[in-house]
Amino acid sequence: MEILLGFLTGLFWGYIFQRARILRFEKHIGLLTLKDFTILKFLLSGVIVGSFGVNLLAQFGVISYAIKPTYLLANLLGGIIYGLGWALLGYCPGTTGGALAEGALDGFFGLLGGLVGAIVFAHTYDFWKEKVLTIGALGKTTIPSLIGVSPALAGLIFSLLLIGFCLFLERKGL
């Protein structure tokens, strides 16, 4: 059941990725060189729906959260390392396999690198855990809990802000 659900979810997502051009090297590099905002528009419209929907459904107890804990230094440092790799590869962990399936054979080397990266991380995890994951460890912190508003309201406001940002991008012709 678990495997089937994961597979089906991926099937839909891969189809969406391909149709929306999210698998293309050009689109990722276009974003990082600030020329083509396709990937950002895709991510933000996912968050617009997600932020509104997830927080509303959680308010009514239909679903529960799965908040990733905050580790200030590890989040930032890991994010930056990711960013460097992103500029080199031009795909992300979720889209590399899709890019390969669309015919981008360099994706194969990206996948291979990713698996080796995971193995090396597993061997170095204890170091990070001891030295870096202890810095700025704030637990499962959310923005609504920091500013003291209800998650459902914060989710709605955040969605509206992102819609405003997308309208701004379109008005600027970006």
Binding site: L34, S45, Y82, L84, E102, A122, T142
Partner: protein, 174 residues
């Protein structure tokens, strides 16, 4: 030429997929599964390493993320590629190539250089994502949708690392 879907439509459908997935997995698997991909690399890496390196499963990171085919592995390594492949073939867009056109514009047609860079990029995105605790799906889409502080910091890191390097790498066009 077929230009595919608007990124807003793709993102909207992704947001819906996120919500449906969380509702369905919470109901049928007992625990909400938010979309995310980089953990899948750890599971597969663990399986691969176990085959060649006896005793590697004792590593604390493989204890935390046990090597097995789970929901995310089915999603990332089977669902997404198949969905993308079906979409590409159905729309006549499957195109086998090793070097993306935009890469060639800056670095020329050398296959070994592209393969090596893709490998290194893949290594860094997964290594960085595991240090940060997630990728653009886990921290970006799912994390920001839940208004999680870690999501916003990590996504900022993606761009802090990625934009300057991409601007340097791809500035030059041959």
């Amino acid at each position: 030429m077929n230009r595919g879907w608007s990124p807003y439509l793709g993102g909207f459908l992704t947001g819906i997929l996120l919500i449906v997935s969380v509702v369905v997995t919470q109901k049928f698997l007992g625990k909400p599964h938010y979309l995310g991909t980089s953990t899948a690399y750890v599971r597969v890496a663990g399986l691969l390493e176990k085959a060649i390196n006896q005793g590697s499963e004792a590593l604390s990171y493989y204890q935390k993320y046990q090597p097995k085919v789970d929901w995310k592995v089915a999603l990332v390594f089977f669902g997404v590629p198949l969905g993308a492949f079906l979409a590409a073939v159905k729309n006549g867009e499957f195109y086998a190539h090793l070097i993306p056109a935009r890469w060639k514009e800056s670095f020329g047609p050398r296959p070994a250089l592209r393969a090596l860079t893709a490998f290194l990029g893949g290594f860094l995105i997964v290594y960085g994502a595991r240090l940060a605790g997630g990728c653009p799906s886990g921290h970006g889409l799912s994390g920001m949708s839940q208004l999680s502080l870690s999501g916003f910091i990590t996504v900022a890191g993606f761009f802090i690392g990625g934009i300057p390097l991409a601007l340097i790498l791809y500035r030059r066009r041959k």
